[in-house]
């Protein structure tokens, strides 16, 4: 008799179906989070002095570490500096290449190109753009009669230079999402708005932008998370310098773990980063959900 399987059998089948994903997630995500939490409560381990339980000592010394606060400040500034600009640029580019213009395919490709380059390759390109005197940037300034600047060697410009690379790299990627959303919108909306006498600005503000809110939510969450996880260009461009002026959270974790051999502090920093990312993601969902118009 082959009929509908009984409830227990179905439950077992269900569990078996999610088992592979659960095992992989547990082994590579959940378990490491738990071990990181445990490691952050223990002292730095060496063969001579094994790790021992120290409670919140690691968190206390982190709070007293001026470099940590500098790095946190940099990371927040980095997020504020890159996210709004890359989203605005992405939207502007999407609106532009969504129209029927000659060479639209080429233009879309050009906007998307930075995203396709590996970050390390892109950072190496920018390293030579920023190089004092011989770099592209200084040569352009020279043509305009301005003198060169030590872009990456000056604490006040090192972080903005990293931001520029990131904006250049990310906005093309976010443009794709906006473009997809724009293509999904019905042309009747525009016609209806025009019939009602709305100008292009009013149409954008009252119709288009609200309709794009789900995309904006998605993109902004991604952009903020990316900003807090940014690390690759630092290896090439500044190594966090001069004197931590451009050091970001993830690079500081790397330094602690692999350059200082200090797993305990690295674990503590990782817990802080995880907590931050969780809070950011949740608050963004809650805050923006109220203003997002889902169709």
């Amino acid at each position: 008799m082959i009929g509908t399987p009984s409830r227990p059998t179905r439950a077992v089948t269900g569990w078996l179906l999610v088992l592979p994903a659960t095992v992989v997630l547990a082994a590579f995500t959940h378990l490491p989070i738990v071990t990181t939490l445990i490691a952050s409560l223990h002292s730095r381990a060496t063969a001579i002095r094994p790790a021992r339980f120290v409670g919140l000592d690691n968190y206390r010394s982190l709070a007293a570490d001026p470099v940590f606060w500098k790095v946190m400040g940099n990371t927040v500034a980095f997020a504020f500096g890159t996210v709004p600009v890359s989203i605005a640029l992405a939207l502007a580019m999407a609106l532009w290449v969504n129209r029927r213009i000659a060479g639209r395919g080429l233009l879309r490709l050009a906007f998307f190109l930075p995203t396709m380059l590996p970050m390390i390759a892109a950072a190496n390109l920018w390293l030579f753009f920023y190089t004092p005197d011989i770099g592209l940037l200084d040569q352009c300034l020279g043509l305009a009669g301005l003198s060169g600047h030590n872009w990456l060697g000056d604490p006040s410009t090192a972080l903005p230079c990293l931001m520029a690379v990131t904006i250049w790299k990310e906005s093309g990627f976010f443009m794709i999402f906006y473009l997809a959303a724009l293509q999904g919108l019905s042309a009747e909306l525009r016609e209806a708005a025009m019939l009602e006498g709305a100008g292009p600005v009013a149409y954008f503000r009252r119709v288009l932008f609200p309709l794009l809110m789900p995309t904006t939510l998605f993109v902004s969450i991604n952009a903020v998370l990316n900003a807090f996880k940014m690390v690759d260009p630092l290896f090439i461009l500044t190594k966090g310098g001069p004197s931590n002026a451009s050091n970001l959270l993830l690079y500081y974790i790397y330094e602690n773990a692999f350059s200082f051999n200090d797993g305990a502090t690295a674990a503590t920093l990782t817990v802080v980063l995880l907590g931050l990312l969780a809070v950011l993601a949740i608050s963004q969902f809650v805050l923006l959900d109220r203003r997002v118009h889902y169709r």
């Binding site: 060496t46 063969a47 001579i48 470099v67 390293l127 030579f128 190089t131 004092p132 005197d133 011989i134 003198s147 060169g148 030590n150 990456l152 060697g153 000056d154 604490p155 090439i236 500044t238 190594k239 310098g241 001069p242 004197s243 931590n244 002026a245 330094e255 692999f258 350059s259 200082f260 051999n261 200090d262």
Partner: protein
């Protein structure tokens, strides 16, 4: 179709595996990690040397694994040890010795090199290259890929400025005087650049040594960052930009400095000897190489990688590992390695080999690093070396960018280093 391909691949893999299995009874398998942190196809050179060794020692099989830069290699070797994978020896950063001792990962060579012949081999290297490897009277690291800092200068620019291209400046005063003549006021050429990203502490070790002071004690438990000669050295570095106007202000990028020199944007630069071959190939002008100029004394720190023997190994494996290290550092091999890479020959005997003698005769700058060895000092290495190094790097960069005075920056770094190192005294 796909299934057949997979089967073919599996068969091939099985064949490879069986052919790689040891056939001699009592054979020893060695695993060695090594880094490459300069450009060029160095992995091929190492593979060739290892193949030579296996040919001469058929009962020893060496698995040499290229593992990235110095930090990557240390992390991978230690992770392999923790994971129970066999690693009997590795080439790691010469300044990692304290950390490796603290991790109880390595054994001193004296434990393994016990015969009279072994002992005379231990004392066959340049003492300057042993400084980072000998700790508390024991030899933990044997020099292999080692470098030092030299001054590259543009001979064409020297001639143009009315300077003698065959007599590069030998003192700080001479260097400033020459740099002033070489600097063009329109900013199109600087007199001198000393890089201050990536390896700022290394360059600073040279300046401190030239001012008559080392950066740390020989047992790695004390730093001397706030001693007056050290502070003066940093003031001198800062003054090159703000008082003498012969160097750009702010930090100078290690990675693009070679390009700036080759394009004539600076007439002199301090850089690793590891760049020698590349600079020689790409510069459109006559390149001169000189020892670093002296103030109270001449000198430069050494740099680069040493061989270490790991603790987790059987006596037979340790003996085989020692054999391999001895083979790799033999004068002939050291000469071959030096010519292929630009790293130094590690023993005086290496420079007596016909191959290296002929090479130096044809290309005299290759001997500058060797001559400087007589006055070289150890690279900054202490317990907690990564953190201490970073403290000094940050202090240097904040002084060079004008955020702090040299005295304030170095005193602060010294205080923090004291806190880190107190438990080790």
């Amino acid at each position: 179709m796909f299934g057949r391909l997979t089967r073919a691949a599996l068969t091939a893999a099985a064949l490879l595996a069986s052919s790689a299995a040891p056939f001699a009874a009592g054979a020893v398998d060695l695993t060695m990690y090594y880094p490459v942190s300069v450009g060029g196809p160095l992995t091929k050179v190492i593979d060739g040397m290892v193949a030579d060794f296996e040919k001469r020692n058929p009962d020893i099989k060496v698995n040499a694994i290229y593992a990235g830069n110095y930090d990557d290699t240390r992390v991978k070797a230690l992770a392999a040890l923790k994971g129970g994978q066999p690693v009997q020896l590795s080439v790691l950063f010469s300044i990692d010795a304290y950390d490796l001792i603290e991790q109880d990962a390595i054994v001193p060579f004296e434990d393994v090199a016990t015969t009279a012949e072994d002992k005379s081999w231990l004392s066959s290297f340049y003492p300057g290259l042993m400084a980072n490897g000998v700790i508390n009277g024991k030899t933990w690291g044997i020099p292999f890929q080692r470098s030092t800092i030299v001054m590259y200068y543009n001979k064409t620019a020297f001639r143009e400025a009315g300077l003698d291209p065959d007599h590069p400046p030998a003192t700080w005063t001479d260097m400033i005087a020459a740099a002033k003549k070489l600097t063009r006021t329109d900013g199109s050429r600087w007199g001198l650049m000393i890089p201050s990203t990536g390896y700022a502490y290394w360059m600073f070790g040279a300046l401190a040594k030239e001012n008559g002071e080392t950066l740390m004690s020989a047992d790695g438990t004390r730093t001397y960052f706030d001693k007056p000669p050290v502070v003066e050295a940093l003031q001198f570095w800062r003054d090159l930009a703000v008082r003498d106007h012969v160097m750009p202000e702010g930090t100078i990028e290690w990675g693009t400095l070679r390009q700036a020199f080759v394009e004539g944007k600076t007439a002199m630069m301090w850089h690793s000897t590891g760049n020698l071959t590349e600079v020689r190939k790409s510069a459109p002008f006559d390149v001169g190489v000189a020892m670093l100029p002296a103030n109270r004394a001449p000198g430069s720190p050494t740099g680069g990688g040493n061989f270490y023997l790991f603790k987790k190994a059987t006596p037979a494996e340790r003996a085989a590992a020692l054999k391999l290290v001895r083979f790799m550092t033999e004068p002939e091999r050291a000469a071959e390695w030096s010519i292929a890479t630009g790293y130094m020959g590690v023993s005086p005997a290496a420079y007596e080999t016909p191959a290296l003698k002929a090479y130096v005769k044809d290309f005299p700058p290759a001997a500058v690093a060797r001559d400087q060895l007589a006055v070289s000092t150890a690279e900054l290495a202490t317990y907690q070396t990564g953190r201490v190094r970073k403290l000094l790097d940050d202090a240097i960069q904040s002084a060079l960018t004008g955020a702090k005075t040299p005295a304030a920056a170095l005193t602060e770094a010294q205080d923090q280093a004291d806190r880190l190192l107190k438990p080790y005294r």
